[in-house]
């Protein structure tokens, strides 16, 4: 089964973090990535830019600057990876450093275009 881990974090905290704190968090991510790569389970690593770079298009209004709602934590990035079941996905997620919130959520459909023009499709629909 393909799983995603959606990461939520306080952007203010990320921006204020000192070098040691940043290194600690990055080390955790590198460890997670290394474990998954070793088992050939990692599909995607995505880190988003701060919400200040975003624009939002609401249903009934023109595009405006910034993310839709002001919340304490923001969606900052996600992983996609293979795991046999939810237990394993949770177990793997323990390699990640602490964040405000991690959401572990199975993926219904995935299509990724590979470097050679072919695509990887995983359909759990």
């Amino acid at each position: 089964m393909l799983y995603s881990i959606l990461i939520y974090e306080s952007e203010a905290r990320v921006a204020d973090a000192n070098a040691a704190e940043q290194a600690r968090v990055m080390d955790g991510h590198h460890e997670f990535q290394a474990v998954l790569k070793q088992q050939n389970k990692l599909l995607n690593v995505v880190r988003l830019m701060p919400t200040s770079t975003a624009v939002t298009k609401p249903k009934d209004a023109p595009i405006f600057d910034g993310p839709f709602a002001e919340t304490k934590e923001q969606f900052v990035g996600f992983y996609m990876f293979e795991a046999d079941n939810l237990d394993e996905a949770i177990e793997l997620s323990k390699h990640l450093p602490m964040h405000e919130k991690l959401e572990i959520r199975p993926v219904m459909f995935y299509e990724g275009v590979n470097g050679n023009g072919s695509s990887t499709i995983i359909n759990n629909n």
């Binding site: 306080s10 921006a15 204020d16 704190e21 701060p50 200040s52 624009v55 910034g66």
Partner: protein, 407 residues
Amino acid sequence: MAAQQSSTTIEQALTTARPLAIAALLRYFNDLDKTEDAFQEACIRALKNWPQKGLPKNPTAWLIFVGRNIGIDEIRKTFRLSSIDEQDFADEEKPPKDYIYKDDLIRLLFFCCHPELSFEQQLALCLKIIVGMSVDEIAAAFLTKPATMAQRITRAKAKIATLTHQSPTQQERETRLTQVRTAIYLLFNEGYAANDGQNHIRQLECREAIRLARLLLQMMPSDAETMALLALCLLQNSRQNARLSETGEIILLEQQDRKLWDKGQIAEATAILQKAIRQGNTGQMQIEASIAAMHAEAATYAQTNWQEIKTLYIILANKFPSPVISLNLAAATFKNNQTDEALKTLAPLANKLNTYPYYHGLLAEIHIKMRQPKKAKTALEAALKLANSPAAAIHIREKIDQIKNNS
């Protein structure tokens, strides 16, 4: 979250909470010293409480609530002496709701960047009050004695206490905002221009300026000039690791190893700038950020699009005329291989920029290109007298030696 909190996590939380907490407390007390004291005391209580109990859900709200109560206790003590009924404070006992802190923070920035204060005072206040640097640290950053800096801050605070702080009108607000943005950019520049790689606090100034720019943008996410301010700071800051040699000498843009530029910062700045440009009204910060972005875009110095940079400087010089901008226009014109036109742009600046080292530096470069070593040497010697750092002086001396060797 684990109950046990490491001390770095707590310190980090206090740092992050500080600007908003101070801003909200200032609303209650309307007095900088009282606000700082109450925040300080609240932090001490946090350091006692949080290690065992864990971080509160909203550390900022906790600090505001506790700080406010501390302040009220202080007022109570004073009032008890003058025997006034405690009931007067009954309304204040309710815990504060989850405030929209925006206006508080903007008000605090307006407070610290009050137009009646000098720029030095504004920057010192921002660092002391909003960022929370110690007087010693700020003094080290501005290369002054701690006692002098303490006095500067005390005077600024005294001045502020005499001023009114009514909410500015919409029009005043825009002017004040421009001042706030300028103060943040100056703070960044203070740190950037003087950073010799030795003085760690200089880098702190850059960091804190970027932090303030981010905060301001959070408060007004649609403000194009604030976007541009953040972009500009990030673009300059991305070159931090490339602009000094190991021995602290300045490496000019032309010689910098562009692999050392921070691509993450450049990418973020570019993304924000693109948003700002979409709005269509070009302010000063936006044009300056666009110029910085042109440099960041060029893979090598030779690939710099001087034509476009010159165009941007022409827009800047028309909209916001100043001798320094004209000087930069002359430099871009020269780099665009229009030597005669560059000299023409420089000519009227001779008096105004006589004490400005870069003026003489550019003049020297032009004369070198025109094979006029005598004139070049005179200009370099003028620049040397005005050099504002040992690293810059070394650089100019090298150029003088080169001319001597060639002629």
